[in-house]
């Protein structure tokens, strides 16, 4: 089956590759581009571990073939960091509030949280819970994830002092 050349912009960098049409976007990101921060959990679009931003909106990268992404922009968890490599606000808040344990769902969760705060910088608790409801977590029971996003919203809206104790 004929391979295709694609060009995608991932985390601001242009990449060109020849791929089999059936190569999923998540496998392309992980295996061709070595961006292993995005994870595979179910490969049928339910768990959200593979969430990335696609033209700035969150999608499931296991439900897209890399060929479909030709000409489009993708942001993965690696692309959420600051230009100097430092953690973004949402990443830092997840760390501070311990909004994770094993870290496997975390990249997808961060993408969902990031997208939420982009469109609504002061979400209610229920809006937060709804926004992450497409990302399954088996470690945390979601409580500290919600707290992490609330912390980020507080900081964005300058409601609490800056970052606490670093380890």
């Amino acid at each position: 089956m004929a391979e295709k050349r694609i060009t995608v912009i991932v985390n601001g960098e242009r990449h060109s590759a020849v791929v089999e049409p059936r190569l999923t976007l998540v496998d392309f990101l992980r295996d061709a581009l070595d961006l292993t921060g995005t994870h595979v959990g179910c490969e049928h679009g339910v768990c959200g571990a593979c969430s990335v931003l696609y033209d700035d909106v969150p999608i499931r990268s296991c439900l897209m073939f890399a060929v479909q992404a030709d000409g489009h922009r993708i942001t993965t968890v690696e692309g959420l960091a600051e230009p100097d490599g430092g953690l973004s606000l949402i990443q830092d808040c997840f760390w501070e509030a311990h909004g994770l344990q094993c870290g496997y769902c975390t990249p997808g969760m961060l993408i969902a949280a990031h997208a939420l705060l982009q469109r609504n910088s002061d979400p209610s608790r229920q809006e937060i819970r709804k926004a992450i409801s497409g990302n399954l977590c088996r470690c945390t029971g979601y409580g500290q994830i919600v707290e992490a996003i609330e912390l980020a919203a507080d900081r964005l809206n300058q409601r609490t002092p800056a970052s606490g104790d670093h380890d």
Partner: protein
């Protein structure tokens, strides 16, 4: 109340963990991230039948596929490897990574295809032609127990893997003497903790070194040893890399057959081989199902609600291969009366096999199902007597002044104050107000209920259920080790001997070592040794790591500290008893100017032998291997033995709302009060607790591996096996209490299995409270929307607003 928390500098503080930084950056290193040159990929061929003879396997078309290196089937593995071991004495049940001769469950792996990519391996797997002779499948555990003809494993002679009845105390007399008794049956549905990351293993054989390197997403004691045994290698020919990040486990990532398979293939092909389960392989073929249990319980009680005695029969459907699963009937023995003063118990444990995916250790190892049975009994007693369910429990709790408390089955509980914790719960929830809320919801036309559960979380991991259930297994030793090294620059490195799946072991070890040495844990590096360079350990199972790793880390750090003081004493010309150690420096207590700094002492250890006390080893490092507290005894003839040493306690209260028009259950409010002794890091403890509650809500309302009567597995994807999302799990309010354990380094107890023991019981209790006005009950988990919908339809309930 003693609050152990305030006494420490680092322990008990909600500090950022060491692990989270790399995970939020997407820099975790999971098994699927591992790239080795020349690595090949495996896809499995699975059986469509629950029970069948394998007549032939034709691999020619698969082998002819471009990019395929090999296709391997069960017979080859059965000849080349030793059968995997079972935790009970179950002869006639050989167990290999691939079915040999016959398949015993739908989804069992029959052949493995090895190719250049997973894509190609799957293409070729489709071309493997297997001819089966289907046989009748046995799926009902009661039938399996009774039948002598329809056998899952004919060579075993029956479907019974384990059957023993224990009697501790004067059960018959207590039942006769009691004013009342009641019987009940509850059913715990087959579910599991299903991590988001599936199991994966990578193996590479080095023929020059004759060593098999294994990377796996694993949480399994003695993993390397068992791989070696199966592959007929020596223990020091297998090296398990324990620095692989594990994407969640909660008990289930045992993956022995996966490692044996890739280990064998790596040697056969001379290439590294990788098997990452896809979700279909995982759900049906991964052998990671959980307990599936029918409980028959009788309780004998007095008019004031005091429960005198309990009889329990637990029949568990293990699936097609036992492995360690039958032992999940044994661990509950160590807390068989729950938090109550029940004086005598008869416990009958039966494990049977059926033609279903095999069962594995699931978070708590049987604690959650057993708690569900006991707590349901307590609710029924309260109901029977017209007593408030909390009051009934208060009357039965072991009292704070009764610890340490010996239960009829031979385990002593270390410490606790259940009344205080329940008081904190009722205060937190504002129980009288919650009752009014419940009643208001009922007025508005919905069903509403409050559920209560009190549960123990045993911790420490004296797995004395092993010798209890298998007299041929005389293991009484479950260790954990820790090494602390101070290098020539004065930096501290801690070596731990286990892999981690999000429990924060690096943080745990650094916090304890930092506390002991007076050094900021942020400056302490913690690394995971591989299995060859590891001292003895037993994995983060059994809610043991705070106790065991904490204990070993404290001991090793203490040894460093003593040595530091001795060196200072030697150089200051003083008695060690007259010196004060603070933050790495040592000074005379009567003259602080007489002092040696950390750097000076480090320099002496690593360079200045002439300044060291005679006979002292050079360098500054210490290792400690800790045996589990109160471990070391074998069971008595009537089955009494000390199991886990430490007992955390949790009390749950849930408010549920049920829509009578649809059967949908929602949990608008959820409260828990929790006592795990000293918390080493409260953020980590809270995470464990909330995560466990979420697992419990899943088991109570959403999750079950469904089988039809022919043994077909119907819920092999996430569309049918329903994992709760953030909208199904309420925001839980938590209250903490601390009754330190007298047995551990800092009073800590286990927290790794918290939340899960009590939450299914609490949710079930709430649903039944909601149904009580209808005169109905549900006695099986999960309680699903469809079930309640049908129930309400049958009662012709109005749909309300």
């Amino acid at each position: 109340m003693t609050d152990g928390q305030g006494a420490f500098r680092y322990i008990g503080r909600p500090r950022r963990t060491k692990e989270d930084g790399r995970f939020v950056a997407g820099r975790g290193r999971y098994v699927a991230d591992i790239r080795l040159p020349g690595m090949k990929h495996v896809a499995l061929v699975s059986s469509p039948h629950a029970s069948a003879r394998i007549l032939s396997i034709d691999t020619r078309a698969a082998l002819a596929t471009e990019g395929v290196s090999a296709v391997v089937a069960g017979e080859e593995l059965a000849k080349a490897t030793a059968s995997m071991q079972h935790g009970v004495d179950a002869p006639g049940i050989p167990w290999y990574p691939l079915a040999a001769g016959a398949v015993h469950y739908a989804g069992e792996w029959v052949a493995a295809v090895i190719a250049d990519s997973r894509y190609v391996a799957e293409d070729a797997a489709e071309k493997v032609v297997v001819a089966y002779e289907p046989l009748p499948a046995i799926v009902d555990p009661e039938e399996a127990f009774a039948s002598t003809v329809r056998l899952v494993h004919p060579d075993h002679g029956s479907n019974v893997l384990f059957h023993r009845k224990f009697v501790w105390g004067a059960v018959d007399e207590d039942f006769t003497a009691a004013a009342h008794s009641l019987d009940l049956r509850v059913r715990w549905g087959r579910s599991s903790t299903v991590p988001i990351e599936t199991f994966g293993a990578v193996a590479r054989w080095d023929p020059g070194e004759e060593i098999l390197d294994v990377w796996a997403s694993v949480q399994m004691p003695k993993y390397g040893d068992q791989i070696a045994e199966a592959l007929r290698l020596k223990g020091n020919q297998v090296r398990v890399h324990q620095d692989v990040d594990v994407g969640g486990s909660y008990g289930v990532k045992r993956g022995l057959k996966h490692a044996i398979l890739v280990g064998y293939l790596a040697r056969k092909l001379g290439k590294p081989v990788r098997l990452i389960e896809d979700r279909l392989e995982n759900m049906s073929g991964g052998d990671a199902h959980g307990p599936d249990r029918i409980f028959d319980v009788s309780v004998a009680f007095d008019a004031d609600g005091t429960v005198r005695s309990m009889k329990m029969r637990a029949l568990d459907d293990c699936g097609a291969y036992p492995g360690r699963a039958p032992l999940q009937l044994g661990k509950p023995v160590g807390s068989i009366v729950g938090p109550y003063r029940i004086a005598s118990v008869a416990y009958e444990a039966i494990s049977v096999c059926t033609n279903k995916t095999a069962q594995v250790a699931v978070r708590g190892f049987g604690q959650a199902p057993t708690t569900y049975a006991i707590e349901t009994a307590m609710d029924r007693v309260a109901d029977h007597l017209g007593l408030d369910r909390i009051e009934l429990r208060r009357r039965n709790f072991i009292r704070a002044d009764q610890f340490p408390y010996m239960i009829p089955s031979g385990t002593e509980y270390d410490s606790g104050d259940y009344h205080a914790v329940v008081q904190k719960l009722t205060d937190l929830a504002d129980y009288p107000v919650l009752l009014k809320k419940r009643d208001a919801i009922r007025q508005a036309g919905k069903l509403a209920g409050i559920g209560i559960a009190a549960a123990l979380e045993p911790g420490g991991g004296n797995a004395s259920f092993e010798p209890l259930f298998n007299p041929r297994n005389d293991t009484t030793l479950w260790p954990e080790s820790c090494t602390v090294k101070v290098d020539r620059t004065g930096a501290v490195t801690v070596l731990i001997v286990t892999s981690s799946a999000g429990q924060g072991h690096q943080t745990l070890a650094a916090t304890v070592v930092g506390e002991t040495l007076g050094i900021d844990p942020a400056a302490i590096r913690v690394v995971h040794s591989d299995s060859l360079s590891s001292l003895p350990g037993n994995s983060p199972v059994a809610s043991r790591m705070a106790i065991m790793l904490g204990g070993a880390a404290q001991k090793a750090a203490e040894m460093i500290r003593e040595r530091v003081v001795r060196i200072a004493a030697h150089n200051l010309g003083r008695d060690p008893a007259s010196l004060v150690y603070r933050d790495g420096a040592v000074a005379a207590s009567d003259d602080p100017s007489r002092r040696l700094s950390w750097d000076e002492i480090v320099r002496i250890c690593h360079r200045q032998y002439h300044l060291m006390p005679p006979g002292m080893e050079p360098g500054l490092q210490a290792s400690y291997t800790l045996q589990v507290p109160k471990g070391g005894t074998m069971p008595t003839g009537d089955g009494r033995v000390q199991m886990y040493p430490c007992f955390s306690f949790e009390a749950h209260m849930a408010l549920v709302e049920i829509d009578p028009g649809t059967g949908k259950v929602e949990i608008p409010e959820y409260y828990v009060a929790h006592d795990c002794g000293t918390m080493i890091n409260p953020l980590i403890v809270k995470g464990m607790l909330l995560g466990g509650i979420a697992h419990g809500i899943g088991a109570a309302l959403y999750e079950r591996f469904e089988y039809d009567e022919t043994g077909q597995h119907l819920s092999g994807t996430f569309m049918d096996y329903l994992l709760p999302s953030s909208l199904e799990i309420p925001m839980v309010k938590v209250a903490d209490h601390c009754t330190p354990s007298p047995l551990t380094s800092h009073g800590q107890k286990g927290a790794g299995e918290s939340g899960y023991p009590g939450s299914p019981a609490a949710v079930a209790s709430a649903v039944n409270d909601a149904l009580a006005p209808l005169g109905r009950r549900v006695d099986a988990l999960p309680i699903r929307l469809g079930h309640l919908g049908a129930l309400f339809g049958g009662l012709a309930l109005k749909s309300g607003t």
